[in-house]
Assembly symmetry: D2
Homo-oligomer: 381 residues x 4
């Protein structure tokens, strides 16, 4: 064998490492600016992604790199247990995606959750088992056996895309007996209220009624770049988890406790109790205090400190002062907030809470979140 | 087996197809605007890409989708023959990437070139065999046997990244005896003058001396989104092929005939004979004819109709008229082009060719391309 | 007087010229790409702008610089005749804005139209007199006398913003007797169908009924930058004039002949006869001819070559082939255009015209423009 | 007089107010994110702007609207006292620009500083008198009389653009006897180290030697939109004033105390004592503490929380740990910060301060600012 015919394993390993290291060098992480809420850090999570190990089109490490690039803190790779269209080329090993991605996640400072997708016809549909130890142990013919195997590992069981047109051609989410069975056994912990590009408002109400965790995921198969126009401001659907600290265990605790919201397109979806402090953390009124003489008006600056757009609409009247009927604040923007004194007002300094709704923050019944803009106003004659 | 335990193959095939079809729906193709030249269409090509079938991190179809999205016309998938770091998980089959990507390319209207990368220590280094019929036939221990097998299939043989620091730690491209052997046998047809983020000016001159084709490729392993800041205007390195028509055969003919240039970062690199008409196709002077009285001046509009920025610097004097010393035209922009009459000029209407260099168009010796701006001027006293 | 106390006029003139010359150096012109139509060049025009010489806030030259920067070809400065809120500081001279801006326009290659705004209560409202010779001659107490003075100079008389809430608080455009008088005298030639951020569909129909020219203008008072988010893709309202050549006389002829359309936000508004060829000039189908076997499908590339977005919706069926129900093409984009063969079709090659509507091209009654996508398809069994 | 001939003053006032109110409605303020420093708020100021009342091209209110839009906190309008090229059209009144702009500034929450520009040949050149009470009192034939009149009003005297090519064709800033006279009298308080697009490093050193305040201004004449490509990330030159509170008096105090820096293109220019805390406020290291075993490495996240880009270059070695040689952080970005343990290190947890320079932060002699990146590292064998 000539010298040009030989190629040492050492050389090739070096080559490979060069490629691995350089993938994110010079890249920046685009973090959507979303505030923490009192007592918790807000972590950006995607609990539903695929790789070449089922019907996705990327290597597991790509899911980690993309997540770091897009500003996520936590991801799960959840390849299908029962659906392996690449099996002619890619050996079936349900634990392999996690194993291949684990060190990359650790190196980038991301939390990787081990998971898998139990993939059945509707009913029951598809379910992610999250925070498991061994995905292969879930590969059982009977659906309930698979779920039991997951639960015995401490899994969080998530019902995926109940209204997906691939399984519900009319787009209607339906609750079947099997779901009651799961609920009664304590084997159902959350439902995807948002999956990919779909939002199921009816499911949001199910979660409130049945005390289940609301989750929103990308269910991404292709590289995210081929699915979202990042330059145009698009982002993948994600779950905001309000965790006590930035650890996998704290994420798991928050998921079981239902401390989540969903960031989907320009919307935030979730329970009133989490949306309220989240919204309050997004905006601030500046450069007051306000002073108005007579029935005049004055301007303050209203700043959106977050990357979530804020669409305010007035939701009632204050007896002393009126604010604008509606206001749109793009991400990280400041606009003028003009308040006017009503006729025949008293003089003095008042702490006023102008009532508004945020039309893109969706609580029970897909209703707009009520919020207030606090302003201290000094009125004179 | 319960009904929820069964899942028909038909159902899963439908699921898979939904995913496949939707990957590019709603996506737009971002075509860099690069003009055709007289007699040829200008095709944007990348002849060096990797997938999970060697050390890349995407499924072969992703290379096609990305290429369509980024505005390419032609790609080759060139997985390493001898380097298979994923072989524990992905079965080795050198023809498989092409077979998996072929129908997707046809569906999207892209030309897919079958290729592979012969991967050896330096010397001789790495070589792409392009336009082949059977990659597996090239998997031979002796380097020259591998090349011969390629040539016997009609391959275009491309020497990859001769100055790559993975093989030449000082970054210097070196010509070894084995390369002379290849050249003398007629087994070497082109060299990567640009690979990934590297440009080798010395190699550009080799190509001119030895009548080899200049090629620029991305050598991409990760999804392109993780390597380029598209929103910031970055693009992958690509070869511009001047082909008689938009067919694989015409691309192959152009490659063997050396009708190429390289579009790399903000540069165009190539032979004078192709850069000249390409540059002339990029700009146009508008809203004349110009009229100047005395030693006054007038403005015309200079428009860059392409997506290649144009950096003009004056390269000599015209006896009648002076133009600006330098001018920068961002992609698709129009700027004012001010010309002034010199003292003691004659009166009359003159066809003037103001001499300029385009500092980002690189010909032999990495010199800036000479070009002219034609302007018809009427001078009066 | 000490040497530091003196300052020569020559020095100050040099200073002034430096400022004037440098204002647009290095600036690029952002031309919206809008196609010509057969027989005519498409000129981008704004016939309604203000300066400090009435209630605007910029010097007349700024209107020229802005217009060049934003890609316009023609502007008129139309300061109010009767409304001079700055007269305490700025001397009243109705011809002065034109005189101050004229040489700048000539230097930049823009066409400057002399105009003024006759400013009365509703009825009759506000009217621009365009292509006049002497604005001061129109400063007459009686409205009809002012119009007559304009007409005697060959003016094009434009009724401005008939539905403006400053004069019609309910936003309804109303036709009064005085407008009939003007029309019967031949003293009314066009109406603003679009003014600033308002579109009056009823006025569009008036123009069709009464054979008046449709015009859209910015009516800009502040610098345009303070009114439009250019970075976000906004543009000022403008009139597209289909002129025989790029001269003021040809623009005037086209205006009197009614050869116009309006480019407003993402809409094009006008007569069917001009919108049809304009739309056809905006898109092209590429990389065919299409071949379909059986009831399969194939993709072509549909390219929007313009900066006007194109929103297609299907408007009927072809017996052989179906296309997508709807398609959105952002500016200068390419998308996949998938066509499918219907069942039981004949074999052969067919020239097919798939019927669509462009929902952002508004003809009579604000209806969407009908258009067709031509495709040559070869169908086999 | 017919009814259409009359137009009431009331109507026109309403019209005018509508225009005034709407100018910034819906507009957002683009605030460059620049941190406060301990003990002070950082205010963004431009102390040199022009209007139609000298050789500028906008109405005084436009300067206020632009400043609000571009995120400034403080501006001065400083029209030339002795240079009035518009006087044929605009009545000369040196106090008028301030009077016209005052209420707009108050309404928008901006601080407007009354000023004027004493405009003489070089020497002495041009000087801004800032924080004055009456600009007209400075209109005196003798330069020193003009300065004395300003000083008697408590003015801050700023020497403008000492190296401006309009007065120093070779671009060299020269110190003349008259400047020594000013300095000795206590009549010179600051110098423009940056004016418009020019930076004078020599002047920066003058300021340090002579204890003068460094100031950077736009000296804008045209609308800012015609001078800067905001969409491309450009911004006007501005002075960062470190004030005790957001009031005019506090700004004046800070100016006299020399508490300033200059934000110019991608640079920050100023005294070490202010640049140090400003730089430290711009970045933060996240998601540690770092743990390294053996001679391995680990990644932390380095975040630029500001809108100033940060260009780090290593400036020395730490005996235990090495960091990257250079790092570029675009505005509001996060990158990976990889640290590696050196050979033969001790085990333990160490507080390490890696020495860097910020190449775009310019201190005395235009040298790059020294800074440190603090990292707590636990090293094990």
């Amino acid at each position: 064998m000539s010298s040009t015919g030989r190629h040492s394993h050492v050389f090739l390993t070096v080559l490979f490492c060069l490629v691995m290291v350089s993938a994110l060098s010079g890249q920046t992480r685009d973090e959507p600016r979303i505030p923490d809420i009192p007592g918790y850090v807000t972590l950006k999570c995607d609990f539903h992604t695929h790789t070449v190990f089922s019907d996705g089109s990327v290597w597991p490490t790509v899911r980690v790199d993309e997540a770091w690039r897009e500003g996520l803190d936590v991801i799960a790779i959840t390849d299908h247990l029962e659906y392996q269209p690449h099996k002619k080329d890619v050996a079936v090993d349900h634990n392999r995606p996690y194993e291949l991605a684990r060190s990359r996640a650790a190196s980038l400072g991301l939390i990787l959750v081990r998971g898998t997708e139990i993939t059945r016809r509707m009913p029951p549909g598809h379910f992610n088992a999250l925070f498991i130890e061994d995905a292969a142990a879930l590969d059982k013919p009977e659906f309930l056996d698979a779920v039991e195997a997951a639960v015995s590992q401490g899994a969080f069981i998530l019902w995926n895309h109940p209204g997906w047109k691939g399984q519900q051609p009319d787009g209607v989410s339906r609750w079947y007996d099997i779901h009651t069975t799961l609920l009664e056994k304590g084997w159902l912990h959350g439902i995807e209220t948002v999956n990919s590009v779909e939002y199921y408002p009816a499911v949001q109400d199910w979660c409130l009624e049945k005390d289940l965790t609301m989750v929103g995921n990308s269910d991404i198969h292709a590289p995210t770049f081929l699915s979202f126009d990042f330059a145009g401001g698009e982002h993948r659907a994600m779950t905001l988890v309000f965790a006590e600290e930035r650890t996998r265990e704290a994420v798991r605790d928050a998921m079981f406790a239902g401390r989540t919201a969903i960031y989907f397109k320009q919307m935030v979806i979730g329970k009133q109790e989490y949306l309220e402090p989240l919204a309050r953390g997004c905006f601030t009124l500046r450069h007051g205090p306000a002073r108005i003489s007579g029935t005049g008006s004055c301007n303050l600056w209203l700043t959106n400190t977050s990357d979530i757009p804020l669409y305010f609409e007035t939701d009632g009247e204050d007896p002393l002062v009126s604010g604008p009927e509606s206001l749109s604040l793009p991400p990280r923007s400041t606009v003028l907030f003009r308040i006017a004194a009503r006729e025949d007002h008293r003089s003095g300094t008042f702490d006023i809470r102008l009532p508004y709704r945020l039309t893109n923050f969706k609580t029970a019944g897909a209703a707009s979140l009520r919020t207030e803009i606090h302003v201290s106003v000094t009125l004179t004659e």
